[in-house]
């Protein structure tokens, strides 16, 4: 795993570096002292994993993630009290409290390894889906009030346009992100995501049932989700794609 350490304190960075020495499969490809440096390093080095301090001068860890289109696997590090730690737990984000215990670090790295492998498996299935030279999105960071999520694209059943925003539907919630549906579409893996109509994109893996309506239009029922009407033009494409 290629990892980036983001922390404003030199001692905190070197401490983590020392702890990571015990993990040979983790290669530290860089360090950043603040959000700006981190942003640059992430874009340039494209790490698999980032260790991210929440409290930093300038933009904090969350604000950094909001700047990223595609979010690497993230392990937050924080000296926060238990209250803040609970907020992380509720949002199912992985975090380590400082001082970091080697056992907790082990557990987090195991989890990170697993998500990395499943992401790799996803993109193998996806095949050659690259567009505009970008790799398809793996996960996105979303913040809605006090809640934060790092959502794997595979977990999103549907995306819905709301003006300049897009609402993401997944099991834990349906927050808005400040990006247009069209902008997101360009970075999506086309073998998984399908434009259903002008305002909705669906995840094909989440389709439970397909019904045929008049004039050959299709209506799709998503698992644990609503029925989505497919526009006439797109119905044709969907039939081809699913070879119905």
């Amino acid at each position: 795993m290629r990892a980036l350490i983001v922390d404003d304190e030199r001692l905190a960075r070197s401490g983590l570096r020392r702890l990571l020495r015990a993990h040979r499969h983790v290669e530290i490809i860089g360090e950043a002292e603040n959000a700006e440096q981190a942003l640059e390093a992430i874009r340039k080095l494209n790490p698999d994993l980032i260790f991210l301090d929440v409290e930093m001068p300038g933009r904090n860890g969350f604000e950094l993630l909001e700047q990223l289109e595609d979010v690497p696997i993230t392990i937050f590090t924080t000296a926060y009290d238990s209250y803040a730690a609970r907020a992380f737990e509720a949002s199912a984000l992985d975090y380590l409290v400082k001082p970091i215990s080697p056992e907790r670090l082990d557990a987090s790295l195991v989890r990170a390894g697993k998500s990395l492998r499943s992401a790799a498996a996803d993109s193998n299935v996806a095949g050659p889906a690259l567009r505009l030279g970008h790799s398809p999105l793996r996960q996105v960071f979303v913040r809605d009030g006090d809640h934060c999520w790092i959502v794997r694209l595979a977990d999103i059943s549907m995306m819905e346009s709301e003006g300049n925003y897009t609402r993401l539907h997944f099991s834990a919630g349906s927050p808005l992100i400040f990006r247009s549906l069209t902008a997101i579409e360009q970075r999506l893996d086309t073998s998984a995501f399908f434009r259903a109509n002008r305002s909705q994109i669906i995840n094909l893996h989440w389709i439970e049932k397909v019904e045929s309506e008049i004039e050959g239009r299709l209506v799709v029922k998503l698992a644990k989700g609503p029925k989505i009407e497919i526009s006439r033009r797109q119905s044709l494409k969907l039939r081809q794609a699913m070879s119905l």
Binding site: E9, R10, L11, S14, G15, P57, K98
Partner: protein, 355 residues
Amino acid sequence: MAHISPNAPLVTKHLFAPNARSYYIGQAVGWATYAALLYALSPEHGTATTIATAIWCVAGMIATHALRVYVDRHPWHAISELALTFVIAVAVIPAVMTLVQVVLLTILRSHHVSAAGIAAHFLQGILVIALWCAIYLGAQELRRRRAAEIEALRLALIAQTAQFQALRAQLQPHFLFNYLNSLRELMNEDHERAERALLELSGLLRYTLRADQLETVTLKDELGAVESYLSLEKIRFEKRLRLRYDVDPSSLTAKIPPMLLQTLAENGLKHGIAKLPAGGDISISAVLKNGILRIRVANSGSLRCANVSNAVGLKNARERLRLVYGDRASLDLRASGENEVLAEVTIPRSDGEGS
């Protein structure tokens, strides 16, 4: 009753309920005493007098109890309404008592009741019922005042608890975990420095815990704690934190509330330096002039972004100053330059402090 809001009933069940027992005891003892007095003072002592006295007093007791029940059940919104009820009661109850006695005595034929006797009974009844009303309302008012007092105490307690909790949250060494994290790495890097830092940390913790129990400390003690605190932060922030002290030696014996300077330094760091990627300066100065201690904590940063989260710590510091010095001390926070925030405290040097 003037301070009761117009919508609150003047007499409420709530006020009666816990005191029902004392009412019954008062009612029984009062009427029994009255009956005993009446009997003792009457010219003849015999069955007829006993019956007459008993009828009179029992009638009075029942009638006043009826009055109490009526007053109790009725929500009173105006003092005039309640007063009118009692005035009417003072006229009606004696009339009822007199009527009951005349009728019963006539039926029992034990007494001959003259017109003068009826008038005398009625007048006596008025006196007794007026006295009853006075005692009743007096007791009622006493109870109400006590309830108000208890309520005021309760509110004060709530306020104090909240203040205490706010203070504790403020004084909590939330910097602790960051230090421990830095210290752990420092142990590998520079053993001696880590050891010194650990001692600083112990001293600071001891001071913080003890500070809760003291009203004032000397500036020297507080400054020692603040220097420890900032030296620990220096380990974390390294070159990003630059410190300057300018303390007039004569001011060191002056007394200040504990954690005051600490709060200001912490604020300056948390809302100033920690927000600046390039870091900045914190300078602390103290002078004693004309019996007034003036402490200044200046930090790089801007007031704008500090304002909101700053409020709690500063509010507590101000409150502590007010508790100890009243209006004679002040705490002022302002932007003192393009990129500097200044917190300034003035404290009168209290009398009797050694110079």
